[in-house]
Amino acid sequence: MLRATLARRRGTFQLEVALEAAPGSTLVLVGENGAGKTTVLRLLAGLERPDRGAISLDGAVYFDSERAVEVPARRREIGVLSADYGLFPHLSVAENVAFGLRAQGVPAKAAHGRVAAMLARLGIAGLGARRPRELSGGQQQRVALARALVLEPRLLLLDEPLSALDVQTRRELRAELRALLAELPCVTLYVTHSPMEAIVFGDRIAVMEAGRITQAGTREELLRHPRSAYVAEFMGVNLFQGAIVRRADGMAQVQAADGVLNVADPGGAGDVFVAVNPREITLHREAPSGSAQNVFRGTVVELAPEPPFGERVRVVLGTRPPLVAETTRQAVAALGLREGSQVYAAFKATGVVAYR
């Protein structure tokens, strides 16, 4: 169990945050750049010191300003995946992953075994002798993750783990990372600026704005009752839940309450969540003939220009299931969309995230 209250002032920026997260769960800290998310991670990891507050993890007190307790970073059982991964450029992959074990005096042979097992678990067993600069972004991310996880942390801090990757890799790794995190016994704190990632990864989601948590809850709570403009953006993410009713060739059909969706098979049994990014949805006047596996017909319920300039427009659709798409003002004009227009909404199965 992670419990933390943190207060820190730097110039005019005041950070004031209280967090709680249970082992085996993922708490997502979501907010725009400059909201103070990374600072929270650094304070928890012991890389910076709060002005006031307390941090305890599974009963161990890491920091308490009242009782003048401060455990240095290297004595905290916390693993960190920084946004740039911070892999040591002069060490091989295996040496990077072994670093923490060797630092604690684990003999080379024992460390080697644990490193090999961790590399295998993350699917990068063949990369041990490579240098970080010889790796793709996705491989670097896994090495950094292996390096943190091999120490079996009680708390894993992830700072924008997908943001350094290109769009295609991000899409591929999102599901993999989620599956990996779901297996971890530790508390996971995941920082992101992307509402989409918050929805996908967060068992609980805390929204941070200007140094404060303005709303916290499960994804369903946040989707249903947004309490600020920033949280309201979450409304744009189309989220469905349902059982898999048919599978073939790595694809699956999910029966949601109000319609059927085609997705990449997430594996396993039981209900799955399906999240569709509104920007992945394309709108058409005629039935599209392309490769999109999900096509729905319906009426435009609402056209809502996005602040500040209305360059992008949210299109609320009366399809089954109901969808919200996001497109450009030019596209709306080109299609001649008005409220009440009949349209086809389409998206690829690969543009959808399905997860448990």
Binding site: G46, A73, R74, F88, H90, S92, A103, L151
Partner: protein, 278 residues
């Protein structure tokens, strides 16, 4: 076609810069070339066989090696301290470290003599231990350390300070102690600067003259290093002095050139390959 005035000014500036560079390079290169041109290679080899020359050369190499080793061993902690900590009096220590670079070597030798001589404070303490630095080979090493240490500490400190903080943060979250982080992260990443500093101080120690002759004297086989031997030869035999100078020049030149040509990346890779071969 007449060039526009602006480009004529640029042309003049460029010509001026070329002339200035040529003048400086000339001042540096002409004396060196003059020395080398004076000595036929055959004489050089013959002179290397002279026991007196060999003695001075051996003494120079031994004392320089010892001085360089001492400078690296004692200078690394100083460089680390200056690179990573803030403390009261840091400015004073920085000046103290840089001081020998601007101090006339004779003055340095005199200061060493006053401190480590029979009557000196440190000298009396060392005498109790049965050690006497002045006019001894160890004194040569001390003089070289005194004069050459700044050439190591400054670049080593700059190199250590420039190691990206994110690697140090990563090491801390991977539960590494400060010492482990230093040897496994900071030192390897700062290695180019540290090696450059070591080579510079080595070259400076090899050429040390003023402090050595003032503090350690000029005894053949004991304290007469190559620069001192050149000085002595100059009194009686110009040709011998020139030959000795060229030998010294070749060593210094090779040392500095080797430093430029040795890519430090290779150093990492080699260490790595050795580890994987096991």
């Amino acid at each position: 076609m007449k060039p526009p005035p602006q480009s004529r000014a640029a042309l003049a500036l460029r010509a001026g810069a070329v002339l200035a560079a040529a003048a400086l390079l000339g001042i540096l290169a002409v004396p060196v070339a003059g020395l080398v041109a004076r000595v036929p290679p055959r004489d050089l080899v013959a002179r290397l066989g002279d026991p007196a020359v060999l003695q001075a050369l051996r003494l120079s190499l031994v004392t320089t090696a010892c001085a360089t080793a001492a400078i690296v061993a004692l200078g690394l902690p100083v460089a680390y301290l200056l690179a990573t900590r803030d403390f009261p009096g840091k400015r004073v220590i920085e000046v103290l470290v840089d001081l020998p670079m601007v101090l006339p070597p004779t003055v340095a030798g005199l200061a060493l003599l006053l401190a480590f001589g029979r009557a000196g404070l440190a000298g009396r303490a060392l005498e109790v231990l049965g050690l006497s630095l002045p006019f001894s080979t160890l004194g040569v090493v001390v003089a070289q350390v005194f004069m050459a240490a700044p050439f190591f500490v400054s670049p080593a400190r700059a190199g250590l300070a420039s190691v990206d903080a994110r690697y140090l943060d990563a090491a801390a979250t991977l539960r590494a102690s400060e010492a482990f982080t230093f040897f496994r992260v900071m030192l390897p990443l700062a290695l180019p600067s540290v090696l450059a500093g070591a080579a510079m101080s080595c070259a400076r120690a090899l050429g040390e003259f003023g402090a050595t002759i003032t503090f350690a004297g000029n005894m053949p086989g004991v304290t007469q290093t190559m620069p001192l031997a050149v000085y002595v030869a100059l009194q009686s035999d110009l040709e011998a002095a020139v030959t000795l100078s060229v030998i010294l020049l070749v060593f210094s030149f090779t040392l500095l050139l080797g430093l430029r040509l040795a890519p430090v990346g290779l150093f990492w890779r080699r260490a790595d390959a050795a580890r994987h071969a096991r």
